[in-house]
Symmetry: D2
Amino acid sequence: MTTLALEQHRPLDAIVLGRAGVDLYAREANMGMADISGFNKFVGGSAANIAVAISRLGAKTGFIGCVAEDTFGDYVCRYLSGQGINLDGMMKDASGSRTSVAFTEMKPSDCNVLIYRNKASDLTLKPEQVDPDYIASAKMLVVTGTALSESPSREATLIAMEHARRSNTAVVLDVDYRPYSWRTDVDASIYYGIAAGLSDVLIGNREEFDMMETVLAPGNKDDDATATRFLRGHTQVVVIKAGELGSKVYCRDGHRFRQGIFPVEVKKPFGSGDSFAGALIWTLANGGELEDGVRFGSAAAAINVSGDSCTEAMPTREQLFAFIETRKQDR
Amino acid sequence: MTTLALEQHRPLDAIVLGRAGVDLYAREANMGMADISGFNKFVGGSAANIAVAISRLGAKTGFIGCVAEDTFGDYVCRYLSGQGINLDGMMKDASGSRTSVAFTEMKPSDCNVLIYRNKASDLTLKPEQVDPDYIASAKMLVVTGTALSESPSREATLIAMEHARRSNTAVVLDVDYRPYSWRTDVDASIYYGIAAGLSDVLIGNREEFDMMETVLAPGNKDDDATATRFLRGHTQVVVIKAGELGSKVYCRDGHRFRQGIFPVEVKKPFGSGDSFAGALIWTLANGGELEDGVRFGSAAAAINVSGDSCTEAMPTREQLFAFIETRKQDR
Amino acid sequence: MTTLALEQHRPLDAIVLGRAGVDLYAREANMGMADISGFNKFVGGSAANIAVAISRLGAKTGFIGCVAEDTFGDYVCRYLSGQGINLDGMMKDASGSRTSVAFTEMKPSDCNVLIYRNKASDLTLKPEQVDPDYIASAKMLVVTGTALSESPSREATLIAMEHARRSNTAVVLDVDYRPYSWRTDVDASIYYGIAAGLSDVLIGNREEFDMMETVLAPGNKDDDATATRFLRGHTQVVVIKAGELGSKVYCRDGHRFRQGIFPVEVKKPFGSGDSFAGALIWTLANGGELEDGVRFGSAAAAINVSGDSCTEAMPTREQLFAFIETRKQDR
Amino acid sequence: MTTLALEQHRPLDAIVLGRAGVDLYAREANMGMADISGFNKFVGGSAANIAVAISRLGAKTGFIGCVAEDTFGDYVCRYLSGQGINLDGMMKDASGSRTSVAFTEMKPSDCNVLIYRNKASDLTLKPEQVDPDYIASAKMLVVTGTALSESPSREATLIAMEHARRSNTAVVLDVDYRPYSWRTDVDASIYYGIAAGLSDVLIGNREEFDMMETVLAPGNKDDDATATRFLRGHTQVVVIKAGELGSKVYCRDGHRFRQGIFPVEVKKPFGSGDSFAGALIWTLANGGELEDGVRFGSAAAAINVSGDSCTEAMPTREQLFAFIETRKQDR
């Protein structure tokens, strides 16, 4: 298997579900939080990043999430809309929650990030706000795992995946695990396990699969064994990312391959996962082959981490192809 | 299929997971809560009721749950222990939770019940308190659905079911739905759906299956369609109870049958479901046939509702057989 | 000063503010919680107890509080109404709170009491539910300190005391301190300090005054120093109770006296404080002298602890006088 | 009375209690939140603003509060320390709270401000963290009312005021009322009422006094009546601010006066209250006359609102006097 069977005649290529928020990046690079003079403002959040990545590459993209009913919520919506993203699934909450904000130093490593997510708006999304018809209007549903970390967003996410299964919308789960959002790894592994069983494509790094194996196979570090374990139920593809070592990809039919990274000068240690997922999903949504998707993903990740922000550094189709042309791929 | 394939050489026949609490029954029958002079004290809670039912019939029974670290908790544990139930899985909570208490009028119908479950001890059970080896020591794990209604008990229940699957312990889910414990039917249907997918045997009444179909098939009242929907994944048997109309039983292999009730004079409108489940599980644990299990369940239910309490009115094997001998079965 | 200056021409003698709930007393005396067969049902809660005590003695009594909108709430209201108590200030809460319930062993000492007060209805009383005109219709407002332990009941209690001050309704504070209701003694001392400053009469035992002096005079055990400290602001009378040693009473004008107890066979170690307060308040409301009030209080306490319940064992005027006649008072 | 009697031989002139956080000001003026490119970073929060104002003018200043144990907390502490402020009373919280952040547009009016205060660190301050000896080391304690809005900060504030009373440290209450922090105006009025009774100097605007009179005198708009009502207990001075109309000042001894504003071009509509309070407190701490204090306060407010931030725009003594020299005061 190298392509994903999708319902081709749907108005949207992919709907991304999860967090959209504000990213505030230190104005000065290589300087600590106390010393910088201020922040540059961007839209961020992994689901928003992935949605922008997909849309920039040219796919018709939708969004399911929630922001606060305030000027930051307006900003996020206006930006995503401007990126061509359909927001029919975006809710606004006026109950006192706040749009998630991340304050970030700009350093290639040891980069301090402060997350403001107490009563975060994205986690107020309710199952009754998720429209099955909207999900049925897309070829793919992309779920970012942070949406599972708290009720009622957890239930909204699970019901969205159920709706996707019933309407034959393919499901991609980007694990996106943030330990601080969970009581214990055991709790996280329970809900990630349920969500993985509802997914066609599962994307995570080794540490994220460690968490998902907390109960099933504590201590396991063998990617092959992990892939075998998760290639069950609906899951057809497992992607295990290993940072500078590239990615391993396992398919239900036994096919497997590796993909190296495109080495670049890293300006910030984040954004790579979201751009990787975006380019992979864009490829699959267009009927492209998995191998191409993963290669495009690696290239998009390289482009992103050498840029100054997440959303703004997502490449267009032209930029992506130009980059690949001019670079020799590692490994 | 008429028997359940079980790991026969295990020390325990069944472990019941869920609520054990105190039942306080009005001393005077057919009198309102304000007028009664006091209450008689019993151990109750659906999981405790089922455990006592199974144990009374002669099966080796275990328990997973939590009571408060106080004199009511002691009372519950002493009683269950005295009924021959193994309590290796029973926790005690000292964080300010309280053992669940139900105050009940004694009337055949329109029976007012007051439930004290704010910060209930049983719902404080944590996934890390559930021992996989304990679950692997039993042929069957019986889950009562109320345990799904709140975190962390919800996660403890899901992990217990996972442990059961991995150790080949058969899982019975008694739906036991209490709307007041849930934010919405949609929320309930999500977790019941997950739990149903992890169960070998699924027992509920029509209203409970309605809740489970809130999203999947809103408005459906067709038992056959319901059974077809839930006879998927691991589920081999679906039992749909209809009160005075008896039960319909559906098997994975297409086999199906009905079982009527044993008419008796009803003293109280509760306890029947738990005694039904208890006798059915006892039968299956002993390698008995499903048809016998459902018939014994109906008889045990009839015996129970004509008695003065729940736990104390659970029949022994001898009482059960004597009752069946002397009664003509309805329908 | 030996009488309290009161607005004499008011329809109510005293309004009591605080907890009314259900007391469940072990049916068998001198037996542990696990072994008793059930409970006898009574109305209880310190504010309810004091209100019944006052009303039984013949004073016109009102109540400010909250019970659940359910059959226990109905029971409490019907009982208090039947005792001649005006319930214009009694609210019913339907938000999921529960009427407070206390389960009690019947032993003269080491008596286990289980309190069910998670989300207790009495603590849901809101400041906007307290009617200043109702308070202005009474000579005295009696506050039991437990009402201060949580918001919004805390704010309701403080506003009630403010209303009382502004309408010249005399305020009695019965400290009624339950450590389990508070985060720390320091927190408790802050709110009790504020409430004491708004009170004309302050009643507590040595341990309760210790708590109130947590910050002001940690470690102090000198009753005279304590009384001096609290005879400030509006406070005219301080009563320090010492169990079997009787009470010490201090007045603003320097007058002070002691009152011994009436020795009786104790059936249960509670109810004495509430009956003491009730008889004292009844005396003051009728223009009686403080010395008589404290003596009547001691007699009422003795009568109560030798009875089988709290509310039901509150003496009438005739019973009180008869008891005093026939007993020699201890000193 | 025109000066405040203070304990002159103390190491600190004033300790300010309340919120210190991060202010993020829109980089571009007169532009909406969605359109600006980023934010300039400052330390803010009314208590921090007042502390900086006092310290800039040359007084020895301390602080009681709490920030998060993270890089924003470090930043706030380092800045305040650098302003010469003693931080012996500053706590760091590591329980998941976050330092308060305010995002602000830069407009003279209709200025949108987004407050991130869900689980704010300053409101986690506990009464047991307030050191009476620290308070006794200062001439004055300045309380900003927001600290009263939630437990445990509410209790910490009340105990600090009690400690101040007992150590003869004069108390200034700057009302600083934020309706969104409170359940109702009635709740707010209760705690502000208690705090006002513990204060020597009370500073607020008409709307804030309206809130404080919610129960006592609903609808009153008469400043004279208000002042009379609050010049009780310990309170010696009441300052009622009326924006462009200046301030009215009332003293316990009947003395009263008005003070106009210094007209300037307003760059932002905040900071004026904190700089006013700072200059007034500095004057009183140095034994200056009330009239001078209020005049200096008005001048400091004018200087502040014409600057680009709050803390950074607080004048030094030299700047203050220079400004007054060159300006004709409005009346």
